[in-house]
Symmetry: C2
Subunit: 331 residues, 2 copies
């Protein structure tokens, strides 16, 4: 059993998101709390901008929940930067007991999972989950200096600039009900420009475990989302899940395909980065759950656990996916 | 309250450690399960060696507990490498649901804290906590190529080569009883060659919170250890805690001062790296608890949450410390 059913369902008390310029031109633009006007947001470095986005997302989510940093027992945070500095610098002034995480693009699901466990077990009254990514910090660190103007193959994804945060507690809808924690899955893919294909097997593994463990079928959910497999990974998931007897053709999408208009915006295989699922979940998806358009949602964060060093050393790309089930109503 | 008392005390079922060459010449050499004969351990890169150390530590700890990877509900793991690749590559074949962490040198305390919460809350029967570091991977990533032969100031610490793992469950002594989770503390220190001074305020903050929250005084413990502040940070902690009314002169030490013979081995300010507290805890300290020489131990992992990028961008060094209380007997 990779899935736990939370003994006390955990409430999502509030969520908040901040998005970058390109994200603010995308189809989900009306669901962000703030859209940046440029890549810097008044900061001298993009790393500082990314930290500022985390500060904003958490502060805004707390404000919406009518709570203060000192009410929070724990904050679970992570990002894509080396040593997770977007989180440590962005959150250092909040003075909330801090657990730093690294799950690559799966981090929003990881932070939500662990925050839920502390609240559900009664060890926390309130906990925050937050992640971020920034196109410019990610390019500089993982790929090439932006000034180099390198070209990217069509299978490459575009790191989302954004941060999303959720405040968890108890006592009101919507609820986090189940958590399926992923195992590391490495199918031997070694193309760092095709992360979707590298992460898809992990998503398939975790989604399958979730359905087996809970006895649910995909049609229990109004929406199943992964983040971020992009176009290529999304198609692999649909096809392989169908082969396993799970038809997700109608109600499945990937945040990397939702966050940008892939027809009109030239984003190659779609969005990526831990900010992608974070802003999609904390913006669009939470709004649709609140409005009642979505009643049951399964979101699965997917991460590629490689580094530039591991790629240079000839390693393949291990993937991971963590799934979290949200329902408007519980028994 | 930053401290939780675990409703069900969590048992340390087993621990295991593997240490590098210099560590194997140190005063704790008889407490490691394995000492490497060189920095490579038959691998082509030091990163792969570090991964192999994690595999070894977990496998050995499981063997000692007479348990298998498939018995484990969760593994909590992290290391110092960019994107935590020592953990993801070292543990990918174990197929245990995986939570990746980044807490710099505090990671062993972070992983133990979170693993304890899952076991104590009943969400896991068994969980593993593991971390590692390797002198050669850390130097290459954080400082200079080893071939450059750069000199280090006396305040610099020496990254420990080693990995330690613990298997947690329930039902037998010794027990993890309390967890004090640290806040990020940044006192404005910006010398990346003096991490001990940068991390000491976080250790002081968390230890003070622990004593206040639990009502315990330092003399409750036979041993209080931090890891890794080294000589300089250790002295700051003793002095500042005394000023606050907590006399830790008799029963406090730092793993960075314990792991090497600082008189005979030329290790400057002492050991560091998340492997330092991991091998000291999973080797020497656990043996002394098992033998009854130590009855109550408080260990506090301390991390410096900077990156080479943040230093180049003129940032100060945020620190964090997480404390975990272990007792041979519980009420």
């Amino acid at each position: 059993m990779q899935t736990i059913k939370l003994k006390t369902p955990v409430s999502i008390l509030s969520s908040a998101s901040v998005a970058g310029v390109k994200e603010g031109l995308g189809p989900l633009k009306n669901f962000y709390d703030k859209v940046l006007e440029d890549a810097e947001w008044g900061e001298k470095t993009w790393e500082k901008t990314e930290s500022k986005m985390q500060t904003f997302a958490v502060t805004k989510a707390l404000e919406k929940a009518n709570l203060k940093p000192e009410d929070m027992n724990y904050i679970f945070a992570g990002d894509l930067l080396n040593q997770c500095i977007a989180s440590s610098f962005g959150l250092r002034n909040l003075e909330i007991p801090f657990f730093g995480l690294y799950g690559a693009c799966s981090t929003m699901a990881e932070s939500t999972s662990l925050a839920s466990i502390t609240v559900s077990s009664g060890y926390a009254d309130y906990a925050v989950a937050v992640t971020s990514s920034h196109f410019c910090t990610a390019e500089r660190q993982y790929r090439q200096p932006l000034e180099y103007g390198g070209q990217r193959p069509p299978s490459a994804q575009w790191t989302v600039t954004g941060s999303g945060a959720m405040v968890l507690g108890t006592g009101k809808s919507p609820y986090i009900t189940h958590i399926t924690t992923g195992k590391i899955v490495d199918m031997g893919i070694n193309d760092a420009n095709n992360m979707g294909a590298a992460m898809a097997p992990a998503a398939i593994d975790t989604l399958t475990a979730h359905f087996k463990d809970t006895g649910r079928t995909p049609d229990f959910y109004d929406l199943i989302v992964t983040g971020d497999l992009g176009k290529i990974g999304r198609e692999i998931v649909i096809e392989k899940m169908l082969e396993k007897g799970y038809d997700m053709r109608k109600n499945y999408n990937d945040c990397g395909c939702m966050v940008f208009d892939l027809e009109k915006q030239d984003m190659h295989a779609g969005g990526s980065g831990c900010g992608c699922i974070a802003i999609t979940l904390c913006g669009f998806i939470m709004e649709k759950i609140k409005s009642g358009e979505l009643k049951n949602v399964l979101f699965a964060g997917t991460g590629a656990l490689l580094s530039p060093t591991s790629t240079l050393q000839g390693e393949t790309i291990p993937g991971i996916a963590h799934a979290v089930a949200i329902s408007r109503e519980v028994d």
